[in-house]
């Protein structure tokens, strides 16, 4: 009988315990995401008169009509600029929240290129969340096609651009990963401490299985449980009005990111649980690790809005890359290859590190 068989036995035991507390586990895992999405997800509603610069290179009657449409109502306040550069300068200076560039071909596409560009700054996420869908909508009215607009931000270093850039969708990505990270640290892995206190670890160790089978079984179960929590948060996000810009296919990217983060945090939990003897101390240390990791990943605010001294922490936080990846899929609808390599690379490395360390540090009760 091999390591795998033994670890599956431990995994089965863990999952049976999880199942017997299923309702409590599910409710507990959903409370926090629910509260955050409901309370903060609507941030930005009721915003009006968002300052937007417009550089009109078309100067045709249609483009003027389009400008009038943008000015109708009180959503936007339009500031005309003579060229793209002037608009970008204003955007960078923060005097406008977005820049609309109308190309000469407007409203037709030319060689597959869109006829309207929208630039926006990440730091104005709540305002752009209102402005961009409005502009986007106006463009579709004129061109009759939705793909006739390109939204970009070369203004900020971290890209969170997208056709779905509502703050709710922005927040949901962060909340999913919060559920996964917290589920990993406070879910399966923490059971090592309880098991040790109750004598379960000892009773496992006197059987012919190896220590590694216990770690592997706990790692499996922790990963599965945290993944379940992450998916529950995702479903909750949908129910509360979130969406994936890439469509359902986006799950192909989102789920693996969740699984790797789940594995990494389960590994962290085992590592901590192996060395810490009481739940109280564990809780303090686990929170000290998880909370900053979560905040620094830009879960609540775009990382570009962080002060410069926080930027390195953001860049060093593995959760940042998982968050960015999920946001590419959920907000942008487009996951560029260089992002895939970077985000998955960091997240997988993080998971492998967590797993290796958990194996290295797991000590039995006695020696």
């Amino acid at each position: 009988m091999g390591l795998l068989y033994d670890s599956i036995t431990i995994f089965t035991r863990e999952m049976l315990i999880f199942k017997s507390n299923l309702r409590t586990n599910v409710i507990r895992s959903m409370m926090f995401p629910l509260i955050i999405i409901i309370f903060f997800g609507n941030l930005g509603n009721g915003i009006s008169n968002v300052p937007v610069a417009v550089a009109n290179y078309a100067n045709s009657p249609t483009s003027v009509q389009f400008l009038n449409t943008l000015q109708s109502g009180s959503t936007l306040t339009i500031k005309a600029v003579t060229n793209e550069q002037e608009g970008l300068n204003m955007l960078r200076a923060g005097s406008v929240s977005a820049l609309v560039v109308i190309l000469p071909s407007f409203p037709k596409t030319q060689n597959g290129q869109p006829s309207v560009y929208i630039y926006y700054a990440n730091s104005q996420f709540s305002e752009t969340g209102v402005a961009i869908p409005f502009i986007d909508n106006a463009v579709s009215k004129f061109s009759g096609q939705t793909s006739n607009v390109q939204i970009q931000n070369d203004v900020s270093a971290v890209s969170t651009q997208g056709t779905n850039s509502s703050y709710r969708d922005f927040l949901i990505a962060g909340v999913i990963l919060m559920s996964v990270a917290f589920g990993g640290v406070f879910g399966g892995g923490m059971s090592i401490i309880v098991d040790r206190q109750l004598g379960n670890i000892k009773s496992f160790l006197i059987t012919p299985i190896s220590k590694n089978a216990i770690v592997l079984g706990k790692l499996f179960s922790g990963t599965v449980q945290s993944t379940i929590y992450g998916l529950l948060a995702l479903v909750l996000g949908f129910l509360l009005g979130g969406s994936i810009a890439m469509g359902i296919a986006g799950l192909i990217w989102i789920i693996p990111l969740i699984v790797f983060v789940a594995a990494a945090f389960s590994g962290i939990a085992i590592m901590l649980g192996s060395r810490i003897k009481t739940i109280e101390v564990y809780t303090i240390i686990a929170q000290t690790i998880t909370m900053p990791a979560w905040f620094l990943s830009g879960a609540f605010f775009p990382a570009s809005s962080f002060p410069s001294w926080l930027q390195p922490f953001n860049a060093a936080d593995p959760l940042t890359y998982a968050t960015n990846g999920i946001r590419d899929v959920m907000l942008n609808g487009f996951f560029p290859l260089n992002h895939i390599i970077l985000d998955f690379g960091v997240v997988i490395a993080f998971a492998i590190l967590g797993i290796i360390v958990s194996f290295g540090l797991f000590k039995n009760t006695i020696e």
């Binding site: 009988m1 068989y5 033994d6 036995t9 089965t12 035991r13 049976l16 315990i17 017997s20 507390n21 040790r196 206190q197 109750l198 004598g199 379960n200 000892k202 009773s203 496992f204 160790l205 006197i206 059987t207 012919p208 299985i209 003897k277 009481t278 000590k363 039995n364 009760t365 006695i366 020696e367």
Partner: protein, 337 residues
Amino acid sequence: MSSNEQYSVEISDLKKRFGDFEAVKGISFKIKKGEIFGILGPNGAGKTTTLNMILGLLKPTGGKIIIEGIDNAEDGEEIKSMIGFMTQETVVDSYLTARENLRIFARLYHIPEERIEQKVGHALQEANLTSFGDVAAGTFSGGMQRRLNLVKSMIQEPKILILDEPTTGLDIQSRVGMWQEIKRLNKAGITVILTTQYLEEADQLCDRIAVIDHGKVMAIGTASELKRLVAKGNLLSIKVDEDDVLKVTKMLKSKFGLEVQNKEGTLVAPIEDKQLDKLIKISEELKKEKVNVQTIGIHLPTMDDVFIKLTGASIRDATGAQQGEKNITKVGGFGRR
């Protein structure tokens, strides 16, 4: 390999050191096949450390452990399948049903899948829990949990069963039930090793007893052999007022040549010959000295007397501190102290 067919466990010069502290200082004993072997000792004596080494949870610093002819340094895994262990804490997964508890351990002991269900059913029957098979173990009474724990420890049909204080905290009825169960298993051919804090338990249940203190074996033998270490004959015990203790002690020594020990206010001394005569003479002397005698009598040595003689500690002190010892081990410190 210097193993002998006759022995189930052979321990020679076993040592364990934790940092500067030597918990076990060269213990040797042999446990015969089919024996019920008791290990007695006060807090910090090295009992648990010794058990943990037999179980393969701790690596000895020195010495040898041979179990059923196999050196445990050579094939730990094989040995683990031959030993069943029931901890002092009742370890059952309270969220799992009795059946799930047993199934998990059947798998951990690598019982072939096709035999597991039959085994589990049989174990439930043995534990008298058949009708509770699908009930969460956490809802069971203490006695039911203990029974489940015992059949769980036996699921792999071990040759040796190790019990760490199997009846601690049980009511009298459950304790007697547990004794019967241990005897039944023993009759079926299983070698039983147990630690206990109940001297009466060691006396009634164990074929042989090892008294361990300060990491060494102080004495080893059957209960009556050990009792003979205390006194060849009987013990005289007198309880007098506290003020008179010193006076009476001196009197017994000078006039009757008795070596008196003060056991929690009761004076105890071995008397070997002409017991009745001596008792009468002592009584008269006490009357003359106008000592207020609360009780006076002669009795056979008990395990309690053995324990006090060998370890200098009353078992009551030992059990009081016992819990502290257990807690330290449990949180994964270095054994004890």
